[in-house]
C-alpha cells in the first residue's frame, strides 16, 4: 500500500490496516502526536478503529518549541 505521509510517498507493509499499526510501524506509538487522514483529524481513541487505505494522505504532527 502506498500512502503520502507528511508530504512524502511512502510504501507500507501489507499487514498495516489501522492507524495504531502505522504508529507501531514507525515506532512512534508512545509519542504525543496528532494524526490527520485526508483532512480528518483523529483523536487518540480513534487510532485503533481508523483504517488506512491506499493513496491516503496522512499528516503526523507534534508539538515543538515555539513562542
Amino acid at each position: 500500500m502506498d500512502v503520502i505521509v507528511n508530504g512524502e510517498w511512502t510504501q507500507l507493509p501489507k499487514n498495516i490496516g489501522f492507524v495504531s499499526e502505522l504508529l507501531k510501524h514507525f515506532q512512534i506509538d508512545n509519542k504525543v502526536l496528532v494524526i490527520e487522514i485526508n483532512g480528518e483529524i483523529l483523536t487518540s481513541l480513534e487510532h485503533q478503529t481508523t483504517r488506512i487505505s491506499d493513496k491516503d494522505k496522512i499528516e503526523i504532527v507534534h508539538f515543538v518549541g515555539g513562542g
Binding site: 502526536l33 496528532v34 483529524i41 483523529l42 487518540s44 503526523i60 504532527v61 507534534h62 515543538v64 518549541g65
Partner: protein
C-alpha cells in the same frame, strides 16, 4: 491571580519554548521562571528520526497549561486547522492565534486574525489572539469573544521593547478581558513597564532563550513582572516638573 477564560494562574509570565541552547538550560529556565503557561508550535513529525528528543516529552504536562500557537498560518482557515490539530492531542484547549501577514516584520494579518478568532470561539476554544497594538482591532477581537488579547510590544524576536506605550495603555484601558503583552520584549525593564502600564501578563520567548544566561534571565523576568504588577497596583506618584523636598523645611540647624 490571572484569569483566562475559566482558568486561574498565579504567574503572569507566559513563556515560549523556542530556540534555547539546550533542553537542560530550558528546563531550568522554565522552573525558575515559575511560568504556568508554556507556548508550543505544531509541526510535522520527522517519522524517520522519531527518536530525536522533544522538549514536551521531558515536561510533566500536568504541571503546566500548554498554549499551542498557530504559527505558520497565513490565513484564518490554516490557523483553525492548526488549532484543531493541537486540541486533538487532548492536552490543551487554549490556542494562541497567530496569523502572520508580513514575512519581514512578522506582523499579524488583522483581518485573518479576527476571522480565526471568531471561528475558534464558536468551536469552544479558549482563544488568545496575538495582535498588533491596534486599539480598534483589540476591541473587535474582544467583541468576537476572545479570552485575552495579546498585543505585540514590537516585532517578534526583535527585543525592541514597547514601541508604543500609548497605544498599549489605550488597549488596556478599554479591555474587559486580560491583556497579555506578547512579542518584542527584550529586557526585564520592558516587562516591568508592560506590567506598570496595567497589562495582565507578559508572553516572551527570545528575551530569555537568547540571553547569555537564560536561567538567570528567566528569574529576572519573573521578578520584573511581579515588581511591575505590584507597582501598578500600588499606583505610582504623579510626575512633577520641579523638585519637591523629601525632608522637612522646618527645624534646620543651619543659618
Amino acid at each position: 491571580m490571572l484569569k483566562i477564560g475559566s482558568l486561574f494562574f498565579k504567574s503572569r509570565l507566559l513563556l515560549g519554548t523556542g530556540k534555547y541552547p539546550s533542553f537542560e538550560i530550558q528546563k531550568e529556565a522554565v522552573v525558575v521562571s515559575e511560568a504556568e503557561i508554556l507556548t508550543f508550535a505544531v509541526r510535522r513529525m520527522n517519522i524517520f528520526e522519531s527518536s530525536q528528543p522533544n522538549f514536551l516529552e521531558q515536561l510533566d504536562t500536568n504541571q503546566f497549561k500548554l498554549l499551542p500557537n498557530t504559527a505558520g498560518a497565513k490565513t484564518a482557515e490554516e490557523a483553525v486547522r492548526i488549532a484543531k490539530l493541537a486540541k486533538a492531542s487532548g492536552l490543551c484547549d487554549m490556542i494562541k492565534v497567530e496569523v502572520i501577514g508580513c514575512n519581514r516584520t512578522l506582523l499579524p494579518d488583522p483581518i485573518e486574525t479576527l476571522k480565526a478568532t471568531e471561528e475558534l470561539v464558536k468551536e469552544g476554544f479558549i482563544v488568545l489572539p496575538y495582535t498588533s497594538d491596534d486599539v480598534v482591532l483589540a476591541r473587535k477581537l474582544q467583541e468576537a469573544g476572545c479570552h485575552a488579547v495579546m498585543p505585540g510590544a514590537s516585532p517578534i524576536g526583535s527585543g525592541q521593547g514597547i514601541i508604543n506605550p500609548v497605544n498599549l495603555s489605550f488597549i488596556i484601558e478599554q479591555a474587559r478581558v486580560p491583556v497579555i503583552v506578547d512579542a518584542g520584549i527584550g529586557s526585564p525593564a520592558d516587562a516591568a513597564l508592560a506590567m506598570e502600564l496595567g497589562a495582565d501578563g507578559v508572553l516572551l520567548n527570545t528575551a530569555v532563550s537568547a540571553a547569555k544566561d537564560p536561567v538567570k534571565m528567566a528569574k529576572a523576568m519573573k521578578l520584573a513582572i511581579e515588581a511591575g504588577r505590584l507597582g501598578y497596583e500600588a499606583g505610582r506618584m504623579e510626575k512633577k516638573r520641579y523638585a519637591a523636598a523629601s525632608s522637612p523645611k522646618e527645624g534646620m540647624s543651619i543659618g
